[in-house]
Each structure stands twice: as structure tokens, then as C-alpha cells.
Symmetry: C2
């Protein structure tokens, strides 16, 4: 069954979204109980409006419906969802964000979910399965043939962030000892080649990958030429246990469209396609941003309040602990503050600039480690460089703010303590900014995780300690 | 000229990098002036070592050499760069980060740069040109033929973030009134099809796009079938003035490999390819992260100290201003702090949690606006939701920290003020978190720019004001 779906530019998608929103608003108005003073029969026009909404949705590409559903509040989203042709449900569920997927799955009966799942390709089933109730997955699995079930189990056996979990089994395989003419005839027997087919995989009788025949080579080859001569044997291939992000970076480096996945014996297991890799790259960027902002995962914009609270509480709690620790550092100097209250007003400046500068350093180091641009052995060299940057920044900005403090409070020593504290806290920020991610990496942990919270904790507590400590020593 | 270059997995790339680093270290040792007490002649083995390094580099893919160069300190980078076959320079320059590109360009003579530039395809020239001295670009342009010069000028006429700037002119065009058999014969006359060719563009005599013929359709079509019948006429196409990010998101939504660029009259100007779109998606994620961390642009890890200072000073200066403002808010309450010093220790907690929570809200809203998932008209609804989240978080965490303050200072009113201040500051954070990006969007500005700094400024100053204000009213 083909559906008339039109892909859209960003502007037209925005326009479609607004149209859907207007139709839904109108539907709500038409369905509202009629007020006694107007006798207009709303039922007929409500049906018409609903039909218009259904038509509009039917014209949209599944990926565009996904964007529309994500932009609708929960009750509107479910209204639209119920109007969508059930055959398209699977394609749409594959496109929505995890949070929205959850809200749609909750609204569906297990029977519906089984039907949707069973209609998908193996790799799409594998993508959806982790988000569905276990019994639904088992029941859908029961409907598969032997081969597909084996493939699904294989894909599901890998962690989500591994190449194996993103494998696609729809690919074209040929032997090396046939001519290009034969290959072209063989291809013509397909109804349609698998999506994104840019190369054909050449295997031997044992199923081992011997090479790949790029379509763009095949099309310009002499029909008489043998595949063995036309194929490329230097192939970028991936192992199913490799991190998906490594594969995505290789796709980016080598401008790949598809690439084979092979096991340690060289047997062709499946392929990776660029669209899955684009998702990996975007999700990586997303998770970095969410992490920096203190969110556990991407949120449904219209999630119930309690869902949002759950998504955010962990980082808030950690932040509370570090803030409390910093507060105790200040508490230790209460006697000094009581004697010179200006200290209370000035101390957040020292801590704040330190946090800002530390975040700059740690972000650079974390990225360099993730890209493989930095070995932990180079930490010393980078530390010296960061110290240089921090001393210059400390002297410059410390002088500025020190001078302001001097003018404001008429106390030159206070200005000098400001200058010294700023410089020392920036040096601390540089040191911890290099040390924290390097240590995390050496310990086999993800250097990005919590880096921003950790460095801010160091520069807050450290900044208060340095500033109030120096002030106590030299000013009181 | 073909070069034996092997694409590599992440592990092997890491290994290659270490090998290059070792060879360079060894070179430095061998070239060091011999100490008087050891008469070993180092010149011969230095030459051998250099040859080994040259060979190793020659075996690497240009994109891998780019990664290696990025991971080398400046002097080592230039040593490696000089050993690379000049014919490959262009391909490598296209792959390195902007900061590293600058360091390499600085080390090259204008004549070399002209030669490199003139050897590239038009779209690659256009990519490199903005990073090169103007006179180099003009000289290279002079060496192009009429058509290529026109194409280059066209591409360069668009802003960097527009579709037009990323156009590629290497594509296959056919007419609609020929058979698939003829198309296949036509294709066979090419030496090689353009990279990533997944579709052929069908144009009329006026050069207007009539449709596209996906290769995967062509290969399964009856050779007798006419292109007009086999081609797809519903095509996702882009206008050169469209934002590149919109096009990249469309590539992601519709799993595209290539797509046509057409002007308002429907004339085919060029095409976009997925590898350029992957770069756009990654750069978007990068710039969000850099922005959140307060870096102007991606840094060369081994940049001279002053380059790093320049890249970072702007955000530090802004941060200093907002911190100074917050400090003046505290200054206004110095009298209160002098009477109850505990306030100084507790106030950073209120400000810190507010900043954390505000960053969570603003990140969500900024992302929703960027993805077109949120209209500014929905701000009211989202504000109410965020207020709900902030009241719950404020009551919970405010109670926790209020109880601790009570126990610590034996003052129950102080605990209650803590609770009230926390809740109010989180509500302020939620309000500003929705308001700032929505306003920026309405004013036509990028809602992401500086969002983190702005929200932190609000929650710092606001937090101090709320907490110290309440304390002054109720505790003194």
C-alpha cells in the first residue's frame, strides 16, 4: 500500500503544525456542550472538521506527524493519534522522541501494539521493542518466522549504544565470481532495493565478507567485468560490539552511506546505514547539552508536572549537596564576615568567575578526550597551558574587580586580596578542569558525566575558602 | 592518482595517532645536538625515522590525518604537515577543525595555497575559501574556467549557514523522455559517478527540475520503461536561501542521501549531500555545548595561551558584570548580614539551586523553539507547568535545606525563610526560563545565545534579593 505523503520544508511543516493545531482547537469548540442561547447544531460540523483533520494528517509524512505530535499537549496529541491510519502507526512511533513514545504507548491496547510491532522490519522492531511492555514484544516475536526471530534476538542482545543494536538486515549480497551484467539482472528481480543501498556486499560460500561493490562503480563498469575485479576490498567494516558513536564518527570521517557489520571471523552479519548514524550523532550532541543543563533525559514538553520533577530532581539534589558544602566553608569564616561585611558581598564574584572559567577548561578537555585528540599523558602539558590562561585572566579581571572593590569600600588591601583570590581561584579552576576529566578517563568512566557540577563545586567551595582565608589572614 | 589509504576503526586510529606521536618524539631526540660523551651518528637514523613517519602518514585517510594533526601540539603538527604529499593537502585542510586550519594556513606560502585551492572541486573550494587570505582566493579563481568560476561565485554569495553555501555541482542530469536503458548506457560513459549519487535529477529543456530517478528504482525498472514513468515527482527540494539547519533536519526526518537545490523558478542549481548535512548537525550540537560552556568557538587544544584568552574573554567579561551586579544586591543588605552572619553562609544555596533549575527550564524551551515544537503562543501554558514543577521542587528541597538550617543555627524562623526563599527563587527561575527565550524568539534573535548566562544572572541577583529581603523583613 502506498500512501500519498509529501515531505515538507521547515516552513511548510510549521504551517502544517499550525493548521493541525487550529483544527484541533476548532474541534474542541464544536464538541463543547452547546450553550442554551444558540441552537446551532454542532454535531455535523464537528464531524466535518474531524474529517478535515484526518485528511490533513493523512497527507503528512510519518516523520512530520511525529514532529506535530511532539508539539501537541497530551490530550490534543491523543486526539490526533486516534485519527491516524493504523497502518502508519509503526512508522510514526519510530520517529517520535522517547518521552512522547511513552505517552502514546500508554494510550494503546496491548493487542494494537502487537499488531504494530509485528508489521515492522526486524531492525525497526528492535528499535521499538525496548520501549514496549515485555509481553507485547514476546507476543509479536511469536508471529515472526525463524530467521527474523533469530535476527531480532541478535539485535536485542546488544546494549543500546553498540553497533549490533543498530544493525539492519535488509541488504543485497552477491558472489565474487559473477559478471556485472549478471548482478544487474539479479537486481532487476527485486521489487525495490533496500533503502539507502549504495553498495552491494560480496560474500563467499561461508558468508564471509570479501568486498563491496559500490553501485556507482557497478553502473559505470563494463557489463562483462567480473565482480571480483570491480569490487573494493579495502572496506570500512564494524564489529557489533563496537560503540555506535565510534561507527558514527567513522561514517562522518569517511562520508559513508552504508557499511557492513562483520563478526570476528569476517562473517557478514548486517549493515549500518547513515540515517541511523545521523541519529547517533544528534543524540550524542543532545545528551551533552542535557547533561550540561542538569537534565537526565529529553523531556516531553507537555509532560505532567510530576514526570518533569522526576527528570530533574537528581541533578538538583547533587547541586544542593555541593551548595551545602560551600555554605559550610563560608560558615567557618562567619567570624571574619561579621568583622568585615564587605566580604559577603564580594565572595560570590570570586566563586562565579572561577566556575565560568573552569567550565570553559573542562568542556575543552572533555571534548578532546571524546574525540580521541588527547591522551591522558598530555594532561601535564595542557595543564601548564591552562594555568597560563588562568593567570592572565586572573591578573586582568582580578585587577578590574579589585580596583572596583578598592573604590567602593575605600580599602586598598581589600582590592589586593580580591586580585589574589581571583587569580588563585582561576588557577584552581584550570587545575581541576584538566584533572577531573583526565582522572575519570583513567578510571574508565565517562569524563563528561557531571563534569559541570563537579567543577562548579570545586570553584565555589575553593573560591570561598581562598577569598575568605586570604581576607582573614591579611585584613583582620 | 590513487593513493593507498585505509579507513580505520576508532581503535586503529588511536593506535595510528600514538605511532605518529612516538615517531615524532623519536625524531626530536635524533635531531637533538649530540652530547659530547656519545659519538653515535644520529643523522642517518634521523633520516630513516623521518621516512617511516612519512610512510605512516601516506597510509592514512585524509580525514584520519586531520584527526592526527588536531591531536598534535603546534610544532609537531607542522613537522607532520610538511611530510604530507602536497596533492593530499587540500583533502586534509577540508577535514581539520577551523582552529587547526588556521594554524596550517599560517605556515604555508600563498603560492602553495593557490595551488591547493585551484585543484579542488567547486564546492570544496567554496568551503575552504572563507578561511584563506583574499588574494589567494582571487588568484585561484582566475585559474578556473568560466562555468566553475560562476558556480564558485554563486556559492560564495550565500551566508555560511544557508543551503546555497553548501551546494555541490557534481550531479547527473537526464531528460524525462528517454528510456531507463538509455539512462544506464549514458551512465556507463562516466568514469565514476559523483560521490553519494543515490538519485539522478530529471530536468526539462529550460533546466527546471521535473523529478528525480532514484538509483534503487532505476536498477529494478524495466529497461524499456520511460524515465517520466519511473521517476518520482514529489521531491524534497531546497531553496539556496533556506537555513542549512532546516535542510539538515529534513535530511534527518526523511532519511535523505542527496536532495536538489532549486531556485524560485524551479531551476535546478545544485544538490545537497548527506555528508555536508551531518557536519551541519554536529556543528549545531557543538555550538550549543560551546555556548553553554561560555566558549566563543571550538579551540585548537594546543593553541597559544593568548589565542585561548581571546576565545574566552567575552563570556568571562559578561559573567563578571552579572556577578558584580549580584554583589551590589548583597551590598544593599550588608546591614542585615552584619546582624545575622548566617545569612552570608546560606545565601549561595538559594542562588545556586535557582540557577540549576532555571538552566533546566531554559534548555528545554530553547530546544523546543529550535525544533519548531513550540509556538510563542504556548508560552503561557508552559509557564504554568514550569511553575508547578518549581513549586514542588521548592517545597521539597526548601524543606530539606530549611530543616538543616534550623538544626544548624537553632533558629526555626531562619529555616522558614530559607524554605520561602528557595520556593520563590525557583518560581523566578521558571518564569525567566520561559520568558527569556520566548521574548528573544519574538524579537527575531537566537533564543540560545547567552541563555545560560542570562538565566544565571537572574537567579543569582534575584535569589540574593529574595532571601536577604525576606530575612530583613522577618528575622531582624
Amino acid at each position: 500500500m502506498t500512501l500519498a505523503v509529501t515531505p515538507q520544508s521547515a516552513d511548510r511543516l510549521q504551517y502544517s503544525l499550525q493548521l493541525v493545531q487550529r483544527l484541533i482547537e476548532r474541534q474542541r469548540e464544536l464538541e463543547a456542550p452547546p450553550r442554551s442561547d444558540d441552537g446551532e447544531p454542532g454535531a455535523a460540523s464537528a464531524r466535518e472538521n474531524l474529517a478535515e483533520l484526518r485528511d490533513k494528517l493523512a497527507q503528512l509524512h510519518p516523520a512530520d506527524i511525529a514532529r506535530v505530535l511532539e508539539a501537541l499537549p497530551l490530550e490534543d496529541r491523543l486526539l490526533a493519534w486516534r485519527l491516524i491510519e493504523p497502518l502508519r502507526d509503526g512508522a510514526i512511533l519510530l520517529e517520535v522522541s522517547d518521552a512522547v513514545l511513552e505517552s502514546l504507548v500508554e494510550a494503546m491496547a496491548p493487542g494494537q501494539l502487537v499488531a504494530i510491532l509485528a508489521a515492522l522490519d526486524t531492525d525497526d522492531m528492535a528499535e521499538l521493542a525496548p520501549h514496549l511492555p515485555r509481553h507485547v514484544v514476546y507476543e509479536a516475536m511469536g508471529r515472526l518466522d525463524e530467521e527474523a526471530r533469530g535476527q531480532l534476538q541478535e539485535v536485542l542482545s546488544y546494549e543500546e549504544d553498540r553497533v549490533g543494536a543498530l544493525m539492519d538486515f535488509e541488504l543485497v549480497k552477491i558472489r565474487a565470481d559473477v559478471s556485472c551484467e549478471v548482478v544487474l539482472r539479479y537486481l532487476r528481480r527485486f521489487d525495490e532495493l533496500p533503502n539507502q543501498t549504495d553498495k552491494i556486499f560480496v560474500t563467499d560460500e561461508a558468508g564471509r565478507l570479501r568486498g563491496v561493490l559500490p553501485i556507482r562503480k557497478l553502473l559505470v563498469s563494463d557489463p562483462e567485468a567480473m565482480v571480483a575485479d570491480a569490487m573494493a576490498t579495502e572496506v570500512v567494516s564494524f564489529h557489533p560490539d563496537e560503540p555506535a558513536l565510534d561507527a558514527a564518527q567513522a561514517f562522518e570521517r569517511y562520508d559513508l552511506v552504508t557499511a557492513p557489520v562483520v563478526d570476528e571471523r569476517g562473517a557478514l552479519l548486517g549493515r549500518l546505514t547513515v540515517d541511523a548514524m545521523v541519529d547517533v550523532i544528534r543524540e550524542e550532541g543532545d545528551s551533552e547539552v542535557l547533561n550540561l543543563a542538569g537534565l537526565k533525559e529529553e523531556e516531553d514538553l507537555f509532560a505532567p508536572v510530576m514526570d518533569s520533577v522526576r527528570n530533574r530532581w537528581a541533578w538538583l539534589a547533587i547541586n544542593l549537596c555541593t551548595a551545602f558544602f560551600a555554605s559550610r566553608v563560608i560558615g567557618a569564616f562567619e567570624h571574619s564576615i561579621a568583622q568585615l561585611v564587605a566580604l559577603a558581598a564580594l565572595m560570590p564574584i570570586v566563586a562565579g568567575i572561577g566556575g565560568n572559567s573552569g567550565n570553559q577548561t573542562i568542556t575543552m578537555i572533555v571534548r578532546a578526550l571524546a574525540m580521541g585528540q588527547m591522551r591522558t599523558g598530555q594532561a601535564g602539558r595542557l595543564w601548564r597551558k591552562e594555568l597560563g590562561v588562568s593567570v592572565i585572566n586572573g591578573m586582568v579581571w582580578g585587577s578590574v574587580i579589585g580596583a572596583v572593590a578598592w573604590l567602593l569600600y575605600g580599602n586598598v588591601s581589600l582590592g589586593l586580596v580580591m586580585l589574589a583570590a581571583m587569580t588563585l581561584n582561576l588557577m584552581l579552576a584550570a587545575t581541576m578542569g584538566v584533572l577531573i576529566p583526565t582522572l575519570m578517563q583513567k578510571l574508565g568512566k565517562d569524563p563528561a558525566l557531571g563534569s559541570s557540577v563537579l567543577i562548579t563545586a570545586c570553584t565555589d567551595s575553593g573560591g570561598f575558602l581562598i577569598f575568605l582565608g586570604l581576607a582573614t589572614l591579611f585584613l583582620l
